[in-house]
Assembly symmetry: C2
Homo-oligomer: 421 residues x 2
């Protein structure tokens, strides 16, 4: 790894650590003032931003980026509106830092409780979308954390311009510019240096494709809040309401095919299978969803259903493909999910309270649902007001991560000259 | 690394993962029954346990272990009493698993809240004390986690016998024996395999010397809850009550010299320095504490005070040595702590509310105290009922880690056929 890149990243790290101390004690009003000033700076510079973005788009076209990537890269007036609105929404969220809870007296006479505090310095590594630069910066700022942002090299001109607007807003609010720093080099070694710099970075949040995230978690010396697979299940219990079951299984698969919270495997109890799968198969066929089933499913739905293989149960299709398995019990459904699932989001459809209770307790996923579509697993739908990502980790934060996931709690102790005997 | 050791550890991991599913759904009464049965098994086998321990002691003596290590290794009737009492206390703690909080309706009509859940499989790596085998097993069991325990090789006979008692208790309560497994080999490669086995282990808790912990965090692929340094500070503010300041600074240093929450550096505001440091120096001299001071401290306390070096401010002595620095402001004290401290435990002595408020907010440590001795930083003193260790990490758990630190929270969502629009 090049010495100069490492030195550069360490310089960013040292400045971020120092800025994080100032941010941690910044009053709410000052942080919100910075968010508003960043919005004003963006608004005042729309044309220049679009010019910078056009440069990225031209290079992207010349480099043969595919149309999906170009779409994510592109900015227009509506997307700038969304960025400014996002800043306003984050400013309006309740202050996450400094809340004290559960203060209580202990037998020794001391009072002990917990205070919510920023994590410190957060490194965010993402791909082409320039709007993530604003999203990530605003969430880190609001939660009192310094941010080091490493966007995709294809968006470098857009990101540099957005970073300049952020710096201007910070300056106007009297906050250190190092509170939000963009990695200005597109050298890939910068990522390696960032994720190993444990003395200056407290957590890494990678956002992007599975291979990027897997590589980062594998090489990082800094803790990572990550999202790997989204192999989500809906289980239609024998006590399901058939109309609700059909509505939910349809929505969970077909409302959108690519998101991580889309259902990939449908489990159905054998006693209800004919009643729900026959009409569901019609719906899926109409919506051009390819079905792959277990032997019982194939027997029920006929010849045009492919046989599901072991690999299907382990697949996140992100596409109009669905695997279906008929099970003989709630236990079998729970075992299937805990074995093949990715601990992301899984739902049961049932009117039976005890089945719902068991499913909620025993399914080991970051979101477990009863009678609702897996598509609801999302920070906005959960009322977090914003989302930095969805964690499939078990430590610290599980599921959609909002401002609270970017904070931690320390103990505070109050005494009046108390000593330990 | 030897193939057979890796295979052995993977066998333990697979069994632990499977047992963790059963534990996660085990009723409170069954877990408490197992804890009681383990206590009975230990009680019934005291003599055999002491025989196994005597074998470890004999080998330890023959291998030239030092007296402190031999003391930690030794079991006697009183220590067996403590182990049994510990099991009883953990059984009496409130159930940490399954609690649901903050369920609320969202605009879509779904209800969203959080449920506390076990982490899954916890690997605990520790050194000579055989009683840790019981402590760790009981906390993991109570919190619904499967445990893989790797004790020091010098305690292998004691630990094997204790593990047999644990297995008997689990069996009697109808829980899987793989809920608590002791690594039966003293091959050091077992540790390496355990901390890399991310598919079967959710978190590693190392307990022991700094070099062991540093090596484990460096090599682990599994998240680690760890405790590195304990460089704790007391800051005596200009608005301190002098009697309280002297009492606290005495207790924080001299109540015991070796614990991680013992004060290593004393900071004093210049306007109060003469009033507190002169009597304090007398106390420390009587208690044979070596003092190392900044220039102003040396000028105040006289010739027998050594000059503190940069290294002193960074030192965890765990010994009767104290570094002292006179500061000119609260800001200087906070900056010193955030720069040289280890984010463990730091205290201010002051009668001034605004100084206390700033110290609590701005000192970035896992425990921040006002008018209390740093020696209180402890799971029992904080009312956690038990402690697996003290975390100086920022993610997941900071400070003393009790049952709650061995759990996480998942989202639960309740609907009535709700789909996303």
């Amino acid at each position: 790894m090049s010495e100069s890149v490492i030195n550069y990243i360490h310089t960013l790290g040292r400045a971020a650590r120092s800025a994080s101390r100032e941010l941690a004690r910044a009053p709410i009003a000052q942080k919100n003032q910075a968010l508003a000033a960043i919005g004003s700076a963006l608004n005042a510079a729309r044309d220049t931003l679009l010019t910078a973005n056009a440069k990225d788009m031209t290079q992207g076209l010349a480099n043969g980026l595919d149309s999906a990537l170009l779409d994510r890269l592109e900015l227009n007036q509506a997307r700038i509106d969304e960025m400014i609105e996002g800043l306003r929404q984050v400013a309006a969220l309740p202050e996450p830092v400094g809340a004290i809870r559960d203060m209580r007296y202990l037998p020794s006479g001391i009072q002990v409780g917990k205070m919510r505090v920023p994590l410190g310095v957060i490194g965010i590594i993402y791909e082409s979308r320039p709007n993530v630069t604003i999203d990530a910066a605003s969430l880190c700022l609001k939660s009192g954390n310094a941010a080091i942002l490493r966007g995709g090299s294809e968006a470098i001109h857009s990101n540099q311009f957005i970073a300049a607007c952020i710096a201007q807003g910070l300056r106007e609010a009297g906050l250190p510019e190092a509170a939000v720093q963009l990695v200005q080099t597109t050298d890939r070694a910068a990522v390696g240096a960032l994720i190993q710099m444990a003395e200056f970075v407290d957590v890494i949040v990678p956002r992007g494709g599975k291979s990027l995230i897997a590589r980062i978690s594998d090489e990082a010396k800094v803790p990572v809040i990550k999202h790997l697979d989204g192999i989500c299940h809906v289980y239609i219990d024998q006590a399901a309401d058939i109309d609700k079951a059909i509505k939910i299984a349809d929505n969970a698969k077909t409302q959108r095919f690519s998101p991580c919270n889309t259902m990939e495997t449908l489990l159905v109890h054998q006693t209800i299978a004919a009643d729900v799968l026959v009409p569901l198969a019609d719906i899926y066929r109409q919506k051009r969803v390819e079905l792959r089933g277990c032997a019982a499913t194939c027997a029920l739905l006929g010849e045009d259903i492919k046989a599901a293989t072991e690999e299907d149960w382990q697949s996140e299709y992100n596409a109009p493909i669905l695997s279906i398995r008929i099970v003989t019990s709630l236990d079998e459904a729970i075992d299937h999910i805990n074995h093949y699932g990715s601990q992301h989001t899984d739902a049961i459809v049932t009117e039976n309270l005890c089945h719902a209770r068991r499913f909620l307790t025993e399914v080991d996923s970051s979101s477990v649902m009863v009678n609702a579509s897996t598509r609801f697993a999302d920070g906005f739908e959960y009322g977090l007001g914003a989302e930095i990502g969805i964690s499939t980790d078990k430590l610290h934060a599980r599921g959609p991560v909002g401002l609270e996931g970017l904070t931690s709690e320390k103990y505070i102790v109050l005494g009046d000259g108390h000593i330990r005997g």
